[in-house]
Amino acid sequence: MTGPLIPLGYIPEAWNNVFAVLLGMGFGFTLESSGFSSSRKIMGTFYGYDFVVLKVFFTAAITAVVGLLYLDQIGWADFSAMYVLPTYMAAAITGGVIMGMGFAMGGYCPGTSFCAVAIGKIDALLFSAGLLVGIFIFSEAFPLMEKIYESGNLGALRVNEALGISAGLFTFLLILIALGMFWVATIVQGKVKKVEY
């Protein structure tokens, strides 16, 4: 069976929402058990006292990309059939900058705030309410944002294509960069004063 299973018709479309709940449960369980339901633990990455976000995030991204390239290599999955988020350069950067500000203020991202709500964090409930309001404001202010939202469409661009190297070489370099960051993070964490939370 070649993946992706549902788009290629190996599993009926009707199962899609069942898998949504099951995969979401796996997502929520791994985030919470890694400590992503605590804003103070998450913020440790930015002050050097706990690099859990850096370690979990990059390990997860590398696991997924290596897994997908491997499954593609042995013919079990079609890497080119997977959805690639299109690149709109200005919107990706501006949106990312605004999200980064929100991250430092709120201490959560949307997914981690839902995990924190699930275990009873009131601050995360306020963050989630803020998400609703922020998305509503964006939607209503869209005429003002439309130009930047639609500008510089580079399509489903892959980062290795943009750099002119193969997917395998890029992934290998990504692993080296991640290992370097983990090494530095471990040294920094050993030197920074511990914060209790």
Binding site: P4, F27, F57, A61, T63, A64, V84, C115, V159
Partner: protein
């Protein structure tokens, strides 16, 4: 009795799995999501879907004439658009289960002892607003754009990830009195 002095035990509420093991597990969930559905995981999209559906119910003409809401209305009958809502229900259930197992379920406002609960809640709400706004501009948040984008080597995934973390480092320094 200083609670923070206690050694981590898996029923004491302060036990977390090893970050590399947690990352591996999260990566496998993401891999399974792509293998089964051909798409990645997300979070902000479920909130967007809630906003679009609510506005469309309360003010259908307004939603249909809007350049933004209307992008998502035409596909509202397709399962893919609701997919993230079901996924987020799963996220809530999965996180609750983990909190139950590791004994972390309780109502509280988590903040640095140096700031008040009120200040924490105001910043949490404002941070959520900015994150929500930015996620629509970038067409996804840390989950849907950065993590899932990186898994398929999307250039936008890497750009958004660097913009989020780079800016967060700058603003974390400015706002350090809120956290440390």
């Amino acid at each position: 009795m200083e609670k923070s002095e206690e050694k981590p035990g898996w029923r004491k509420g302060n036990f977390y799995v090893n970050p590399y093991l947690g990352g591996l597990m999260l990566g496998l969930v993401l891999l399974a999501t792509f293998y089964i559905t051909g798409r990645g995981l997300g979070a902000s999209g479920a909130v967007k879907n809630t906003v679009v559906t609510t506005v469309h119910t309360l003010a259908p003409a307004h939603a249909e004439s809007s350049h933004y809401y209307s992008k998502f209305l035409s596909t509202n009958t397709q399962p893919m658009n609701n997919w993230l809502v079901f996924e987020v229900l799963g996220v809530l259930a999965g996180a609750f289960l983990s909190g139950l197992i590791y004994n972390r379920l309780n109502f509280r406002i988590e903040h640095s002892p140096k700031i008040t609960s009120r200040r924490r809640l105001i910043f949490a709400f404002a941070g959520g607003m900015l994150f929500g706004f930015g996620s629509q501009l970038a067409r996804g948040c840390t989950s849907g754009a950065a993590l899932s984008g990186m898994a398929v080597l999307s250039a936008a995934g890497f750009i958004t990830m660097m913009a989020i973390f780079g800016t967060a480092y700058v603003f974390a320094y400015i706002l350090r009195k809120n956290w440390i």
